[in-house]
């Protein structure tokens, strides 16, 4: 039942995404700009990590893609709420979890697709990384999308206008990006900033993907990254389903 319902909702929203090629690629714009115009600045700098500067930067850009893309996923449901689409679905016997999962899995598909394109572009720019590590990177993008997408939909069900939603998401994503060391590794940071950044869950994800990109798959970073990513997804899906089950007031 759940699988069938999820597949149905997933199909509906994937067709929606495919109808709009622009939306399908738009999320790539920001990381691609960073890749082309920021990436080359790092090639000669001592960044302290192993491997090339691309092996440091691309993992950060992948998670940036997930962070900004998935956090704004809720916008679509604000529009659907105003059209009455969500309520119309909620009066049918369809599984509440499926209403969330179908949407979140669509987002995951879209962002992993964008991540693949981003990595291809990065290879053209000079990235060299082991295939296993690259695949692990995609898995982290997927988990991050599941987490942030679920939270974004949950939050969008609670606010009533896009005007409230946009600033709220911005206020959360910008500090998340800076504090998790997406652009430059936190190993360059003074002690206080390094400590602060450990409070930011995404930091563990970036560290894990950076390890993966230099071929180190059995490190402490990887373990913490996997645990945090899985924990965050579980928590976010639980919260999201709760919101879809109870109504919005």
């Amino acid at each position: 039942m759940l699988l069938q319902d999820t597949a149905l909702i997933y199909g509906r929203y994937l067709r929606q995404s495919l109808r709009s090629r622009f939306a399908l690629l738009f999320g790539l714009l920001m990381p691609l700009l960073y890749l082309c115009f920021f990436g080359p600045l790092l090639t000669g700098l001592p960044l302290g990590g192993r491997g090339s500067s691309w092996q440091l930067l691309v993992p950060g850009l992948l998670l940036q893609l997930g962070l900004f893309g998935a956090s704004f996923a809720g916008f679509s449901i604000i529009i659907e709420n105003s059209q009455g689409v969500v309520e119309r679905m909620r009066v049918t016997p369809v599984s509440r979890l499926a209403l969330l999962l179908g949407r979140v899995l669509r987002d995951t598909t879209v962002f992993v697709f964008q991540a693949v394109l981003l990595v291809l572009a990065a290879v053209a720019m000079g990235l060299r990384a082991p295939l296993g590590g690259v695949l692990i990177g995609f898995a982290f993008v997927a988990l991050l999308t599941v987490s942030l997408g679920s939270l974004s939909y949950a939050m969008a069900m609670k606010v009533h206008t896009p005007q409230e939603f946009g600033p709220l998401v911005n206020a959360m994503t910008m500090p998340s990006m800076l504090l998790s060391g997406l652009m430059l590794p936190m190993s360059l940071a003074p002690a206080w900033l390094d400590v602060l950044s450990h409070l930011m869950p995404f930091r563990y994800l970036v560290d894990a993907v950076r390890d993966a990109y230099v071929g180190s798959y059995t490190t402490g970073h990887m373990l913490y990254g996997v645990l945090v990513a899985l924990g965050l997804s579980g928590l976010a899906v639980t919260v999201g389903t709760r919101v879809f089950r109870t109504a919005r007031a």
């Binding site: 149905l8 679905m89 109504a247």
Partner: protein, 260 residues
């Protein structure tokens, strides 16, 4: 036999400015095959009541059964038994009529071939055959409404809830919709629970009226009985009867002109 019965159904919203009692205690019964007009001034609690009876909103007090299913204990049973058309409808503007109808069938757990067949049936029955491949944004107001109702009829519900179904429609489309509602009752025995602000509509269509004000039922009866009781005569207009019941007559005319 009662297909809907509610006792003390209530909903209080917690807002920043304190609790708001949108519905304070609705008692009503609806018989099978009845067309019930649910009337009341703006803000009386009509939509909130409808959303509770269709499981969209959990009541904060009271109880109700719909088609033999308890609202609190068996919401899934209620969902299988009732269809709901919200004021705003509920179709995606970018999707074709066919896709919306088929997806709706699938949401009601029909197999794909069943859902496709049912979409065809509904399109024929509601005069949408020619429009199946149009985007819903390209439909007229009346066509949109027929699609909304078709979606709600997908699973042949025993009870159909319609929230202001004819608001914004031209007279011709309204008359068509009235015919459709009567046909549903006559041919399928569907119970129809509808809210409206058009008193001529309530008069023409409803077997019985329930009038709510400030979250409680203030009158309940056939249109003629209410006119006799509250309007003073069986020939009173429903407008006057409604105003007498809700105590909101036209503002008294002040004899002195406003100084300019």
């Amino acid at each position: 036999m009662a297909v809907i019965s509610a006792a003390g159904l209530a909903r209080t919203f917690q807002t920043r400015r304190g609790p708001v009692e949108a519905v304070r205690g609705i008692d009503l019964t609806v018989r099978e095959g009845e067309i019930l007009g649910f009337l009341g001034p703006n803000g009386a609690g009509k939509t909130t009541t409808l959303r509770m009876l269709t499981t969209l909103l959990a009541p904060t007090g009271g109880a109700a059964t719909v088609a033999g299913h308890d609202l609190a204990a068996d919401p899934a049973g209620v969902r299988r038994a009732c269809g709901y058309v919200a004021q705003s409808g509920g179709v995606d503007a970018q999707i074709s009529v066919r896709e919306e109808l088929v997806t709706q069938g699938r949401l009601y757990r029909l197999t794909k071939p069943q859902a496709i067949a049912r979409a065809g049936e509904l399109a024929r029955e509601l005069g949408l055959d020619e429009l199946l491949d149009r985007k819903t944004s390209a439909l007229s107001g009346g066509q949109r409404r027929r699609l909304d109702i078709a979606m709600a009829l997908t699973h042949r519900p025993k009870v159909l809830f319609l929230d202001e179904p004819t608001t914004g429609l031209d007279p011709g489309s309204r008359a068509d919709l009235w015919d459709l509602i009567r046909r549903l009752r006559d041919e399928h025995g569907t119970t129809v629970f509808l809210t409206t602000h058009y008193l001529d509509e309530a008069d023409a269509l409803s077997d019985r009226l329930v009038i709510v004000d400030r979250g409680v039922v203030v009158a309940d009866g056939t249109p003629s009985a209410l006119k006799l009781e509250h309007g003073g005569s069986i020939d009173a207009s429903l407008q006057d009867t409604f105003l007498a019941i809700t105590g909101r007559g036209p503002a008294p005319v002040d004899a002195t002109p406003v100084a300019v």
